[in-house]
């Protein structure tokens, strides 16, 4: 589904974040990007979100080289993937419901369809009773779950998450990861950047270890993709 082929990323100023990274991610896989701070985890996710472009190499998603995708096609591409952020990026002027509804409003769905899907997504993260509340009035864990509901409400096939549990304690973190696990179980491909190896180890999936912009371990897709339940740190 996703293939990085000798991808190098130089940030403006000459900083080399990735060096000839090759990585295969099969459909339905759950990938943990791990590694030291500055290893390049976020950079890979930024490339997948097309917030940044690869400097060299190919980035293929469903066989398409999205590294060269024209700017006007970026919105449609982004609508196919779900994103979860460490700071959840919820809009405070809007209710939990309206936050979760935003991707569907952007996609131009009807009001009725939006309501149905938003309720379903909020139900999946266990926040159906909090839909009227502003993000500010929710706990950190609840806020992150609203963020996850927003990421999955448009039913993306790929979900990327950058340090989704960075602000949460161990118990809440595990809860969030189990939530991801459930989405993965129904076939959503997951790419999660985290430095919490213990947590990642408890959830399973494939672990890709980055070191100074290079893949040190776990770059190749397993012989039989689908869900690998044992981690390899």
């Amino acid at each position: 589904m996703i293939r990085l082929d000798k991808v190098t990323k130089l940030y403006r100023g000459g900083r080399e974040a990735l060096r000839e990274v090759s990585l295969d991610i099969g459909p339905g896989e759950m990938i943990f990007l791990t590694g030291h701070s500055g290893a390049g985890k976020s950079t890979i996710l930024k490339l997948l979100a097309l917030v940044e472009r690869p400097t060299h190499g190919q980035l293929l998603v469903d066989g398409r080289n999205i590294g060269r995708l024209p700017a006007r096609e970026i919105p449609a591409y982004r609508r196919q993937i779900g994103m979860v952020f460490q700071d959840h990026k919820l809009l405070d002027g809007r209710s939990a419901f309206d936050n979760v509804a935003l991707p569907l409003v952007i996609a131009g769905l009807t009001r009725r369809e939006i309501e149905k899907r938003v309720r379903a997504a909020l139900d999946q993260v266990g926040l159906l009773d909090k839909e009227r509340q502003a993000p500010r009035t929710l706990s950190a864990g609840e806020q992150q779950r609203v963020g996850i509901a927003r990421a999955v409400v448009a039913r993306p096939r790929l979900l990327i998450a950058d340090e989704p549990t960075g602000n949460l304690d161990a118990e809440l973190s595990l809860e969030i990861m189990q939530l991801f696990r459930r989405f993965n179980d129904v076939g959503v491909t997951m790419v999660i950047a985290t430095h919490d190896l213990v947590l990642a180890g408890r959830v399973g999936g494939r672990h890709v270890l980055l070191n100074h912009g290079q893949v040190q371990d776990g770059g190749a897709a397993p012989a039989t993709p689908a869900q690998c339940s044992t981690g390899q740190a």
């Binding site: 991707p103 131009g108 009807t110």
Partner: protein, 304 residues
């Protein structure tokens, strides 16, 4: 098509809701736009009033007939009496040379100079008021007839000032167009600047929307609608201002014009002018929004 329209309607209403959430700021902006739009329109009303005034007075077409210096007073009186019964003349009035000199003498600017004169340099003057029904051709004929008389030196039509007024009004009308262009530019600037600030305030929302796959058109739309409403509401405020100005001035103006027997009916804001004010508001609000959006929205790219 149906969903397309409902979505635009939703966007328009959402923008209105956005504005109503900051009532003070919105009222200030809309008020400034309204004043800027009302200004040229009220000048236009002034010119309209002036034109009526000038038009209503064109019935008064008095001739000043200057007799040759040294003409006998008795001759002047006879001429005045004779002319009064002329078919095209309504009335005559004789201003005797001595009376005219005394009048001048009262003016401090002339008093000293006149004292130095040995004799009265001023001629007798007849003010001839033609018949109200007299046609322009009749007036020309009357003028020629008067000028041909041996005791007449010069015939002058007193409508000069009306021509001058018309010329001034013409100038003012042109000035109004220039003022209108400048003020519309000001409205574009005001709306553009307001929306620029709005874009800055909603930066996070724009970034998140872009991350979630919003197109530029989607991100742009609410701001364009806000510009639309600013223009629309500003135009409405301008019309309201004009209507209240007219209401306040109507009584005194009517009385004044009645004194000069000028017809007042139909004076006021024409539907055409009202539409023009609204249209100018809409176009400039929309244009300001486009400028702001074009310059400032593309600069916002999401950072993760």
């Amino acid at each position: 098509m149906g969903t397309f329209l409902t979505r635009h309607l939703q966007n328009a209403l959402a923008a209105l809701g956005q504005l109503s959430r900051q009532p003070v700021a919105t009222l200030l902006t809309v008020g400034v736009i309204g004043i800027a739009l009302a200004l040229p329109a009220s000048l236009q009303l002034l010119v309209q009033g002036g034109q009526r005034f000038a038009g209503g007075w064109s019935g008064i077409r008095d001739f000043s007939v200057y007799l040759k210096p040294g003409t006998d007073l008795a001759v002047a009186r006879n001429l005045a009496r004779a002319l009064a019964s002329h078919p095209n003349v309504q009335d005559t009035r004789l201003i005797e040379a001595d009376a005219a000199l005394a009048e001048f003498g009262r003016d401090p600017a002339f008093g000293e100079a006149l004292k130095a004169l040995k004799s009265n340099p001023l001629p007798h003057t007849l003010v001839v008021r033609p018949d109200a029904e007299a046609a322009p051709a009749d007036l020309d004929a009357l003028k020629a007839e008067l000028a041909a008389k041996p005791e007449v030196d010069l015939v002058q039509l007193d409508t000069q000032w009306l021509l001058r007024l018309a010329a001034i009004l013409d100038l003012v009308r042109r000035g109004i167009w220039i003022a209108a262009v400048v003020l519309v530019a000001a409205v574009i600037f005001i709306v553009g600047n307001t929306i620029r600030l709005d874009i800055q305030n909603r930066r996070q929302e724009i970034e998140v929307s872009k991350l979630l796959g919003a197109t530029d058109a989607f991100v742009r739309r609410p701001f364009l609608y806000i510009g639309f409403w600013y223009g629309m509401l500003g135009g409405a405020v301008a019309l309201l201002l004009l209507a209240s100005v007219l209401l306040l001035l109507r009584g005194p103006l009517e009385r004044l014009l009645q004194l000069y027997s000028v017809d007042f009916t139909g004076f006021g804001l024409s539907p055409g002018t009202a539409l023009l004010v609204l249209g100018a508001g809409l176009v400039s609000g929309w244009a300001g929004a486009w400028l702001a959006v074009g310059r400032h929205l593309s600069a916002i790219e999401p950072q993760v």
